[in-house]
C-alpha cells in the first residue's frame, strides 16, 4: 500500500511537464549543481532504473533535500509530525467524547431535540474549518484577546515542566476547538444513525422487557453495539482530519506539517510538498490498520473468524 503511494508520486513527477530534476531537487540556479543532482538521482538512466533508484531512496528515508531551508526533507517533516499528531489526537478525543454523547441523546430523545441536533450537525459538517478557524481567531484572539494569535508556545519565555505544559494547552485550545467542531458534527451524525439502528434490534426489546431503566438500555445495550461503525468511520475519517489539521494549522500558525506545507507551497519547495504527501498517506494507511485491529477488539465475532 505504501509502495502504491510511492509509485503514484514517481509517475506524477515523471508525467509532469518540464525537467523532473527541478521538481525533485527544487529550483536552483547553478547549472553544474543541477547536473550533479541529475546524476545522483540517476535521471540520465533508463526509466525502470530510475524507478528502482527512486523507490530505494524513499525506503531509506531519503526524500531529497530542501535547499531553501538547507535540511533534508525527511528531517523537516519528522520534526513537525508530533505537533500535528498532538492537534489531531486532541481534536479526536474531544469530538469522540462529545459527539458520541450528543449523537446518542439525539437518537434516544427524537422529536425536537433530534431535529435541532441533526440540523446543527449538518451545519457543523458544512462550514469549511479553515474559515471557522479564521472567525474563531478573529473573535477570541483579536477582539476579545483571551487567546494567543497563533504558535505553540509563548515567544520569549523559557517555560519548564508544568508551566510549559499549560502554555502549550493555552495555545492548543483554539486550533483544537476548530478541528473538534467539525469532527463533533461528523461523529454525532454517525453515532445517531448507528444508535437508531441498534435500538430497533430484538435484544433492546428484551432489555426493556426485563425492566432495565431506559438510560441503561440506551447507553449500555444500544450504544455498545452501535460503537463499531462509529470507530470504523472515525478511522476512515483520519485522512479528512489530517487534511483538516493541515488547514487549521495554517490559520493558527501551529508548527506542524500543515504550516510546513503552506510555506513550502509559497516558496515552491516541491521536494517538501512531495514528502508531505508521502508521509501524510503513510499516516492515513497506518490509521486504517489501527482501525482494523480495534475492530477485532470491539467485536469478538470478527476475532473468532
Amino acid at each position: 500500500m505504501i509502495l502504491v503511494v510511492i509509485i503514484v508520486t514517481f509517475l506524477l513527477v515523471r508525467l509532469a511537464p518540464g525537467d523532473p530534476t527541478y521538481i525533485l531537487v527544487g529550483e536552483v540556479g547553478d547549472e553544474s549543481f543541477v547536473r550533479a543532482a541529475r546524476e545522483r538521482l540517476g535521471l540520465d538512466k533508463p526509466l525502470y532504473e530510475q524507478f528502482i533508484i527512486y523507490i530505494s531512496n524513499v525506503f531509506r528515508g531519503d526524500l531529497g533535500y530542501s535547499y531553501l531551508r538547507s535540511e533534508s526533507v525527511a528531517k523537516l517533516i519528522v520534526e513537525r509530525i508530533p505537533a500535528t499528531l498532538l492537534l489531531v489526537l486532541t481534536a479526536m478525543f474531544i469530538s469522540a467524547l462529545i459527539g458520541i454523547l450528543v449523537g446518542t441523546i439525539a437518537a434516544a430523545k427524537r422529536g425536537v431535540v433530534d431535529l435541532t441536533l441533526s440540523t446543527l450537525s449538518i451545519i457543523g459538517i458544512s462550514i469549511p474549518y479553515f474559515w471557522l478557524g479564521q472567525i474563531i481567531l478573529i473573535v477570541f484572539a483579536v477582539w476579545l484577546g483571551v487567546f494567543p494569535l497563533g504558535g505553540m508556545v509563548s515567544v520569549g519565555y523559557e517555560y519548564q515542566g508544568l508551566q510549559y505544559f499549560i502554555d502549550v494547552v493555552y495555545h492548543l485550545t483554539l486550533p483544537a476547538m476548530t478541528l473538534a467542531i467539525f469532527n463533533i458534527a461528523f461523529t454525532t451524525k454517525i453515532t445517531r444513525g448507528s444508535v437508531l439502528e441498534a435500538l430497533t434490534q430484538d435484544y433492546i426489546l428484551t432489555a426493556r422487557a426485563k425492566g432495565i431503566p431506559e438510560s441503561r438500555v440506551v447507553f449500555r445495550h444500544a450504544l455498545r453495539n452501535a460503537l463499531i461503525p462509529v470507530v470504523t468511520y472515525t478511522g476512515f475519517n483520519t485522512g479528512v482530519l489530517l487534511v483538516g489539521a493541515i488547514l487549521t494549522e495554517t490559520v493558527f500558525a501551529w508548527p506542524g506539517m500543515g504550516s510546513l506545507l503552506y510555506d513550502s507551497i509559497r516558496l515552491r519547495d516541491y521536494p517538501v510538498v512531495l514528502g508531505i504527501f508521502i508521509y501524510g498517506s503513510i499516516i492515513v494507511i497506518l490509521a486504517n490498520l489501527v482501525v482494523d485491529i480495534l475492530y477485532g477488539i470491539l467485536d469478538p465475532r470478527i476475532r473468532l473468524r
Partner: protein, 300 residues
C-alpha cells in the same frame, strides 16, 4: 421478437438522458412534498445558482480589478462587503467566486462520474479477475488522502484553472466506482436483464439501455455530495495558495485574508460565509435525496 428489436436499434444517448431526466423529475417532485430538508437545500442552491448567473448585472465593478476602492475600506454602501488589501471589491469577487466554485464542482464531478461509472460498470458487469483487480485499485485509491493528491498534482502540473478541475476530478472517482459496481451487481440479477439476454441483446446494449438508466438514479445524491466535496477541495487548495490567480476564488480570498485577520475581518468573513452557505445547501440537498430514496430512513 425480431421486430421489436429492430424498432429499438436507434436508441441514442439522448434517450438515455431523457429516461434518466424523467425519473429524476418524478423523484424530485415527490421529494419536495415529503422532505423539508430537501426543499430547504433546493431553495438555497437555486438562489446561489441565480446569483452566479446574474453576477454581472448586480455588481458594479469588474472582477479582480484592483484599486476600485481604497484598500482596507470596511463594508460601506458602495462596497457592501468591504475592500481588500489591493483595493479589490470583495462583494464583486465573492459573486464571481460563486461562479468559480460551481464550475469547479460540476465539471470535476462530471470527470469523476465518467471515470467512476466506467470502472464500476466494467467491474460490476463482467466480474471475475477484472473485477477483483479494478476493485483492489479502487480500494487503494480510496485510502490515499484525495486532497493531498490533488494538491500535489496541481503543484507539479501548474496552477491553472483547468488543472485544478482535472486534478479534483481524477482524485474523486473511487467512491462512485464502488457504488456503481454495487448497483450493477444487484440489477444484473433481476429478471428483466435475463429477458434482455434471452432476446439476444449485446452486452453494450444491456449495459447502456437496460442497466445504466436504472443504476444512475441511485448515485445522484452521492454525486450531489461529491460536488460539495469538490467545491471544498477547491476552496482548501485556494486557501493554501494553490489557485489560478486570474480566476476569482473564494478559497484564494481566504488565503489573502489570512495575512490581514487582525486588520480586516471582512476579508475573511464574507467569502467564507458564502462558501458555507453553498456547502450547507448542497449537503441538505444530498442528505434529503438519500433520506428520500432510502425508505427505511424516511419512516423515522
Amino acid at each position: 421478437m425480431t421486430n421489436m428489436n429492430n424498432q429499438r436499434t436507434t436508441y441514442t444517448i439522448t434517450d438515455l438522458l431523457k429516461n434518466v431526466g424523467w425519473q429524476l423529475l418524478c423523484k424530485t417532485s415527490k421529494a419536495f412534498r415529503v422532505n423539508p430538508r430537501f426543499t430547504a437545500g433546493f431553495i438555497i442552491i437555486l438562489v446561489v445558482v441565480i446569483l452566479a448567473i446574474v453576477a454581472p448585472l448586480i455588481t458594479w465593478h469588474p472582477p479582480l480589478k484592483t484599486l476600485v476602492g481604497r484598500p482596507f475600506t470596511p463594508p460601506a454602501a458602495l462596497h457592501p462587503f468591504g475592500v481588500d488589501d489591493l483595493g479589490r471589491d470583495i462583494y464583486t469577487n465573492v459573486l464571481y467566486g460563486i461562479r468559480t466554485s460551481l464550475t469547479v464542482g460540476v465539471s470535476s464531478v462530471t470527470i469523476s462520474l465518467a471515470i467512476g461509472i466506467l470502472i464500476g460498470v466494467i467491474a460490476g458487469y463482467y466480474g471475475g479477475i477484472l473485477e477483483d483487480a479494478l476493485m483492489r485499485i479502487t480500494d487503494m485509491a480510496l485510502i490515499i488522502p484525495q486532497f493531498l493528491l490533488a494538491l500535489v498534482i496541481v503543484a507539479i502540473f501548474g496552477q491553472n484553472f483547468q488543472n485544478i478541475i482535472i486534478a479534483i476530478g481524477i482524485v474523486s472517482w473511487p467512491g462512485i466506482a464502488r457504488m456503481m459496481r454495487a448497483e450493477f451487481l444487484s440489477i444484473k440479477e433481476r429478471p428483466f436483464i435475463e429477458a434482455a439476454r434471452a432476446v439476444g441483446l449485446t452486452d453494450v446494449r444491456i449495459i447502456f439501455e437496460e442497466i445504466l438508466p436504472n443504476a444512475i438514479p441511485a448515485i445522484i445524491p452521492y454525486a450531489v455530495l461529491q460536488i460539495n466535496t469538490a467545491i471544498l477541495v477547491e476552496a482548501g487548495l485556494g486557501f493554501l495558495g494553490i489557485a489560478d490567480p486570474n480566476v476569482p476564488s473564494l478559497g484564494l480570498m481566504l488565503n489573502t485574508a489570512q495575512q490581514y485577520l487582525v486588520r480586516a475581518w471582512w476579508m475573511a468573513f464574507f467569502p467564507g460565509l458564502v462558501l458555507s452557505i453553498i456547502v450547507i445547501g448542497l449537503n441538505l440537498l444530498g442528505d434529503g435525496l438519500i433520506e428520500y430514496l432510502n425508505p427505511r430512513l424516511r419512516k423515522r
